[in-house]
């Protein structure tokens, strides 16, 4: 069997970045198997988005059935299963997102095949060998995956995506194939039935240029006032470690790490945070890390670019005061 099918997530006519990453890895695997790269798009706008896929994709299978407009993991997986039953590819790929992992796990469960989540690299052979993330990427596993159709999700932020090609004359577009899968009612039971707007008024931690993070060293919910002040002066947002969310000092939505948010600001200021691996996986994409910690041997020093050794309750207010002093002296 040859070729690769990629489940492509899209919204508002745009392909999600995780899916571009999956398409990029998929293209190299398809070539290694000597088969085509194909895509599957489901839901509103699938047609339009499919037409915009690069020329690396030979066929885009599009499902426009109204009953599959709302996300329904089991039914969407059913559509993929029907497609791969008729012409099994060597592999099916999806992005390592909530939906990518969920849909592919349904495909795996229904077809009794193994699945490897969050792979970072794959080598086509007999059997296929792959490297995948454990512990959210703090640890890597080398493994083999022996199956007729390999089911893989691609770890986010790992595969570099080439710039989308300019729409040059002569560049080919994928063939659009309308796919009309049978839809089974029980598969529609778990489906999105409504949307709620995000809580208003917060600078998103994942978009902020500067994040000031607090850990156990902050000592209390009130202790975050000085971190809020510094973040405010820098136009940034405040986050924290799991210790501070478990203690109820901050809401869980502020948690950075394996079971919280992944952030990628220009600067992350880690105050009173030891640097446990589960925290670091959430902030290692920051361009620069400044640690403020009383302990010069804390593990955070192994990943920080800059550090101030000292009590954050003194250091953080002193930084804010210095920013204000310079602003005032400029008039």
């Amino acid at each position: 069997m040859s070729g690769v099918l990629v489940f492509v997530e899209h919204a508002g006519g745009e392909i999600e970045r995780v899916s571009r990453e999956a398409l990029t890895l998929g293209a190299s695997l398809a070539a290694a198997t000597g088969g085509p790269l194909e895509a599957m798009l489901i839901g509103p706008g699938a047609d339009r988005t499919a037409a915009a896929l690069g020329s690396g994709v030979s066929t885009a299978h599009v499902v426009s059935d109204d009953r599959l407009h709302a996300y329904a993991p089991a039914a969407w997986a059913g559509a993929i299963v029907q497609l791969i039953e008729t012409r099994p590819p060597a592999a099916v790929l999806a992005g390592g997102s909530d939906r990518g992992n969920e849909v592919l796990a349904h495909v795996a469960a229904r077809t009794a095949r193994p699945m490897a989540a969050n792979v970072v690299s794959v080598s086509v052979g007999d059997p296929w060998r792959l490297t995948r993330q454990r512990w959210a990427g703090s640890l890597l596993e080398d493994a083999t995956l022996d199956a007729d159709v390999r089911l893989l999700t691609v770890a986010p932020h790992v595969v570099p995506v080439p710039e989308p090609e300019v729409d040059a004359a002569g560049s080919t577009r994928p063939t659009i194939a309308q796919s009309q899968p049978a839809v089974h009612e029980p598969d529609l039971v778990a489906r999105v039935i409504g949307h709620e707007a995000p809580e208003a008024g917060t600078i998103s931690l994942t978009d902020a240029r500067v994040v000031v993070g607090g850990g156990r060293g902050v000592g209390s919910g009130e202790g975050f006032a000085t971190l809020e002040e510094l973040a405010g002066l820098l136009g940034g947002a405040v986050g924290g470690s799991r210790v501070v969310t478990s203690a109820g000092w901050r809401p869980h939505s502020d948690q950075i790490g394996q079971t919280g948010l992944r952030i990628a600001p220009e600067l992350y200021v880690a105050c009173g945070i030891s640097g446990a691996i589960q925290h670091i996986v959430g902030c290692k994409a920051a361009k620069r890390i400044l640690a403020i910690n009383t302990d010069p041997d804390a593990p955070i020093m192994g990943v920080a670019d800059y550090a101030v050794i000292g009590d954050l309750h003194q250091v953080v207010p002193a930084i804010s005061a210095e920013i204000r002093r310079r602003a005032a002296s400029r008039g």
């Binding site: 089991a74 009794a112 022996d146 949307h195 799991r242 079971t259 400044l290 593990p299 000292g310 250091v315």
Partner: protein, 257 residues
Amino acid sequence: MEILICVKRVPATGGRISLTPDGQEIDTRYLGFTVSPHEECAVEEAVRVVEAQGGSSAVLTLGPAAAEEQLRDAMAIGIDRAILLETDGREYDPIATAAAIVATVRAQEAAGAPFDLILFGNEAADTGGFQVGIRVAVALGRPVVTGIKSLTLRDGVAAARREAPTGGWETYELPLPAVVSVKEGLNLPRYPSIPGRLRAKRKEVERIEPAWSSTGPVKLGLRLPAEQGSQVEILGRGPEAASDVVDLLVKLGVLAS
């Protein structure tokens, strides 16, 4: 409401991971053990539902004899009973894990203990397979949704909410019996009380021998990702470092000069 929660014993690694010399395992000689924060929230949720609506809760793990510790941790905050699918310490792949859980659920239900709801963590903390809950649900023919951060059980329906890919929340409604995989943030788990711990100590743990199989992925070995290798520059000690920090903020372009 009858609820089953599945948890997995994992090492509580701190600042660094060290591997055994053969690269097959994490060196756990100096480590404590825990479960994923997602699973802690699943346990807490079950306790709250049973407190509010009656019924009972059971916690299940597939793992070595020592995983009894994680079952007792769950009982210490209010889970009623525990089931240990006792292994010889080998790693079970997601297919084998799901099969063992399904066999146990079927046996329990045939013996007159049906579950309205089976709760999973969104992914295991260590292996991160993102699939056991879905495999169990598909085998049992029950609806399932993953990534849930808010759950309401009323009139035989589980109303659930998770983060939408484009921001905000998306909502689901599953008729019971159902399977739900949850994420940390669902609730704020309580700490066990001393009486809770004592009660948990005295409780029976039901032991079952799970069948072994290996489909894949088959682990060849573990390794640490390449270090970013940054050398930390100490800007100073105490509040006197503030001026150097502000110089840095200007240099990095995050503060106007």
